[in-house]
Amino acid sequence: MYSGSYIAQQFVNGLNLGSIYALIAIGLTMVYGLLRLINFAHGDLMMLGAYIGLFIVTNAFLPLGAAVVLPMLAIGLVGVLVERIAYRPLRGAPEVAMLMTSLAVSWIIQNGMIMSVTAQPRSFRLPPGVNQLHQMGGVSFSTIDILSLALAVGLMALLTLFVRYTRIGIAMRAASENLRAAHLMGIHINQVIAVAFLIGSALAAVAGVLWAGKYGTVEPFMGFLPGLKAFVAAVIGGIGVIPGAVLGGYLLGFAEILFVGFLPPELSGYRDAFVFALLLIVLLIRPNGILGASNEDRA
């Protein structure tokens, strides 16, 4: 059967893919929790982040860290702007209006990128040093794998501390439970929502750069499928709950790698079908997701 090192290798791969899904899913779940909005444009912010990362990596006059920090800052601001311009005016409108708007924003960003940089995929080449392969007990991983994992886990740990202990973090949890009650308590809702978009978009940008580093190319439609899968991850984990997004992200990452690694080759091409089948099964058993609130305590 499969050797121990093969299984360990799949585990490392799942961890890596899962981190990326988790980073994207966090933003989706925060926004959904506050506004009940499925933000279709979220994957496109990830793509924009990857392009900014590409620009920095190819014009290597900046240290590698800048390829993470600058996309975070820039895309964080883009996320705040999108909310301010496109979503805030629709607050209180039927949910479907905001949903359609997010689709429109998604297409505007994609088409804007096609017009400005063309739909031609570009290769995302990392500096040679970080692509170095390491072997450990038959498992191979590159420096970038380790850096990505450390970065993703570090950022999620920071976010956890933020949401748990800071004033605005507590306010964010309260607002996602009951927006109106939070408002009555004197919480400045627009500020909380802006912070959620800032953080969520910045994390999506990191995911974009990691994704580009992992697969080596960048193109204007690259955000669509990861965005969709991160949404699946958020739903599996329990949408609106941040730890749920992280859990769902890793579950999905592992599941996908397992399907590829252990299914017979003629089926592994259909891995996305298996991923969505997994969603259906989880939802049949736990309709609110694994960590999701049950309907009774949703006011």
Partner: protein, 234 residues
């Protein structure tokens, strides 16, 4: 300190308030009583800025605060303890109280006020690390009142604080209201339990289908035969 001036409020085409005027003086406990759908909650929601009136004004210390966002009213010292409590069930008791003081920056005073709330409701101190959703109905109501007090309000608005509670707890809640009143907190109390409300209030307003039907000192209204038949069961 609070004055409502001819408020007209609509939900779509349905009129909820039809020219409500009332006032609450500094240090006073004013009660709004009336049956379901009379517009009591809408009145409080309008004061808080959640609902905007089509016509009329809300004045705090003579200053027009109509159409200000809710968080700005909290900053002006208006605290709203909403109907149904609306505590945050997935947050701890202590976190719920922290949110009550969201607009304040005076750290030391905030801690002192938290102590005061815990003194008023010792059960909350025992359960401060527990998720608020696991509290009993009475404890949740105490938490909701405590949370409102944490904003250091000049006016505390309580919407149906006795709703759905066992008689013994209703007694306890009214004791607390009375105690806060005696400590000098200005209170606007909305209640369906007219008898209890009139007993603790200084002044009362009777609301009927969006209008103030009667008003006056609570001690007089409690003896008013019309009130007795309509709201006090004989």
């Amino acid at each position: 300190m609070l004055q409502l001036d001819d408020l007209h409020v609509y939900y779509g085409n349905i009129q909820a308030l039809d020219g409500v005027s009332l006032c609450v003086e500094e240090g006073e406990l004013a009660a709004i009583v009336g049956s379901n759908g009379a517009g009591k909650t809408t009145t409080l929601m309008t004061i808080s800025g959640v609902v905007w009136p089509k016509q009329g004004r809300v004045l705090v210390d003579g200053e027009d605060v109509t159409r200000l966002a809710p968080h700005k009213l909290v900053a002006r010292g208006i605290a709203h303890c909403p109907e149904g409590r609306l505590i945050f069930g997935r947050l701890s008791v202590a976190e719920n109280l922290t949110l009550g003081s969201y607009n304040r920056r005076d750290g030391r005073q905030i801690r002192a006020d938290a102590e005061r709330v815990y003194e008023l409701f010792p059960r909350l101190l025992e359960r401060r690390k527990q998720m608020a959703g696991t509290l009993s109905g009475g404890e949740q109501q105490m938490l909701a009142i405590g949370r409102a007090l944490m904003s250091k309000p000049r006016l505390l608005m309580l919407d149906e604080p006795s709703l759905g509670l066992a008689p013994l707890l209703v007694e306890r809640i009214f004791e607390v209201i009375d105690e806060l009143h005696r400590q000098g907190v200005t209170i606007l109390l909305v209640e369906q339990n007219a008898y209890q409300a009139l007993r603790v209030a200084d002044r009362a307003y009777v609301l009927e289908t969006g209008r103030v039907r009667l008003s006056g000192p609570a001690a007089e209204l409690i003896d008013n035969p019309e009130i007795q038949t309509a709201y006090l069961g004989g």
